[in-house]
């Protein structure tokens, strides 16, 4: 590539080509991130113009904040069930839809539908379904499971969140699994068939190992979205009943913006970020080890 010889045109091009993105990226992500680390060492309340350095007090408080760890534990439970269920449903749908089925595009489009709508609206729709449609069904058909709203019961409200999340993301992950299935080489499968492998053996011995990259992507996405869930949590249960379904994201939000404890809120956000980063990176690291070549 021919390079500009003079420094001025070279700088001009650099600013034109990389300036806007880098400037926005640095001022929107990097500066707030670094400033956030500084904020965790202060006791700023969001209003006062001055604040004092308290060094690591906020981190000590994070470890003493029982509610934070409770909601973190709840989030872990939520992440576990959603990651397993979303990926299981998505993979099964992808398997069912990948072999030249008539009308498969219609099915794909239908399963993908919830992803067009944001979590806030999905949560509101399901709030109606859970507290009206299901309750009505439960009363008419005498199904005790639905006789009163799931959202009024702490344990069932948690499962309501899981159900909505599976419904929300299964279609998206299905699309990624379909892309993965299409990249499994046909000749390998055919060779296996000729050698007498049945469908189950092919799935277990060939398709699953070759699909490891898709699993890494999907599990990464579901882990991250699960830990950071906020929209559906807010619009479906608002953390209720009695704060029983308050996930960790919502807890951080409330600490900072409602209790006006910005330093502590940011410290909790950073601790959360470090934990999630560690978990997702470990997942990718061990996933990569399982990758095979066709």
């Amino acid at each position: 590539m021919i390079k500009e010889k003079e420094w001025w045109p070279r700088l001009q091009n650099r600013l034109l080509f990389t300036g806007p993105t880098l400037f926005a990226f640095i001022t929107v992500m990097i500066v707030p991130f670094l400033y956030g680390i500084y904020l965790t060492m202060t006791n700023w309340d969001g209003i006062a113009t001055s604040h004092t350095l308290v060094w690591f007090d906020n981190y000590t408080k994070v470890f003493q904040d029982k509610v934070f760890w409770q909601s973190f534990g709840l989030t872990l439970k939520y992440v576990f069930f959603t990651v397993v269920l979303v990926n299981a449903v998505a993979f099964l749908l992808a398997l069912g839809l990948s072999r030249g089925l008539k009308g498969q595009n219609l099915f794909r489009a239908g399963f993908f539908l919830p992803n067009l709508v944001g979590g806030i609206v999905l949560g509101l729709i399901w709030q109606f379904i859970f507290s009206n449609v299901f309750v009505f069904l439960g009363e008419k058909a005498n199904i005790p499971l639905f006789s009163y709203s799931w959202l009024a019961d702490p344990e069932k409200a948690f499962w309501a969140l899981v159900v909505v999340t599976v419904w929300q993301y299964a279609g998206y992950m299905m699309v990624i699994y379909i892309a993965g299935l299409m990249s499994v080489p046909h000749d390998v499968l055919e060779a296996a068939s000729i050698d007498g492998a049945n469908r189950w053996t092919k799935l277990r011995r060939m398709i699953l190992p070759l699909m490891v990259p898709s699993f890494i992507v999907c599990i990464f996405l579901t882990l991250q979205r699960g830990f950071m869930v906020y929209d559906v949590n807010l619009s479906l249960t608002k953390g209720g009943p009695f704060k029983s379904t308050e996930m960790v994201s919502m807890h951080v939000y409330e600490k900072a913006f409602l209790s006006r404890d910005y330093g502590l809120g940011q410290a909790e956000a950073l601790v959360l970020f470090l934990l999630v980063a560690a978990i997702t990176l470990l997942q990718v690291y061990f996933g990569k080890k399982m990758e095979v070549e066709a």
Binding site: M1, I2, R14, F17, T18, P20, T21, A24, F25, V28, M29, I30, P32, F33, Y35, G36, L39, L93, G96, R99, L101, F107, A109, G110, F111, F112, L113, L116, V117, G118, G119, I120, V121, I125, F128, I129, N132, V133, W167, G171, V175, I176, A179, L189, S214, V217, Q224, F227, D231, L234, V252, A256, F257, G265, Q266, A269, L272, F273, V276, L281
Partner: protein, 274 residues
Amino acid sequence: MRSSKSSTWLRITGLIVVLCLFVFPFFFLLLNSFKANTAITSNPLAFPEVFNWDNYRNAFEKMNYTASFFNSLVITLLGVALISLFAAMTAHYFVRNNTKFNQYTFMIMVAAMIIPFQAIMIPLVKIYGSLNLLDNKWSLIYMYLGFGSPLAVFIYHGFVKGIPAELEEAALIDGCTRRQTFFRIVFPVLAPTTATISILNVLWIWNDYLLPSLILVSPENRTLPLSTFNFYGTYSVDYGPLMAGLVLTVMPIMLVYIFAQRYIIQGVMQGSIK
């Protein structure tokens, strides 16, 4: 792969059952949006006896629908366009000027993708608040550029590498400047990638809630998800208009989906492979 007739039928039946489970919430939403409140609470499963458009008129006004729709539209279109254009330029520059400095900058951008928004939102609000840049849709668009660039640069980077450098050298020898080479040759060649990135970003920005809820304060600046949520909160006894409001919010993107369904799903596929 061969499979017997009966197992195919079993598979299709299973898929249809699951499809119904996926679609029924939207169906009941639409059904109840035409009914009066008493009809909804007495039987949410029944068809509406008369199609009542009052709910829609009511929701349309109370949600300030036109204003929020245009806010959402402007923010999404501008955000998506800026991210695509500037990220393509940056990725192109990084690939063709493969210096150590550019490599490190690129690595930092990619690494930053793991930072969740929640780890940034508190200082972000403080910084932009003290600069008096909150409650302003132009700041929000700018923030989308910042948050959206890393992924877009990353995806473009992979595809720019696939464009033969000879193509650009030929243009340069023929007298194109660097900018002309980018706009006349590279950017058009990248069109499929631009489509993928735009689709991913439209789905993200159009539906985003947390960031706009922190940035946009006054009612006239609200985007559709914000005004929907707000409408729901202040109106939570009368189901009819609420249902109509949700339908109105979902409608625009569903209309787009009917026509662009294949491209949207392909876009998500392409975006995940890289």
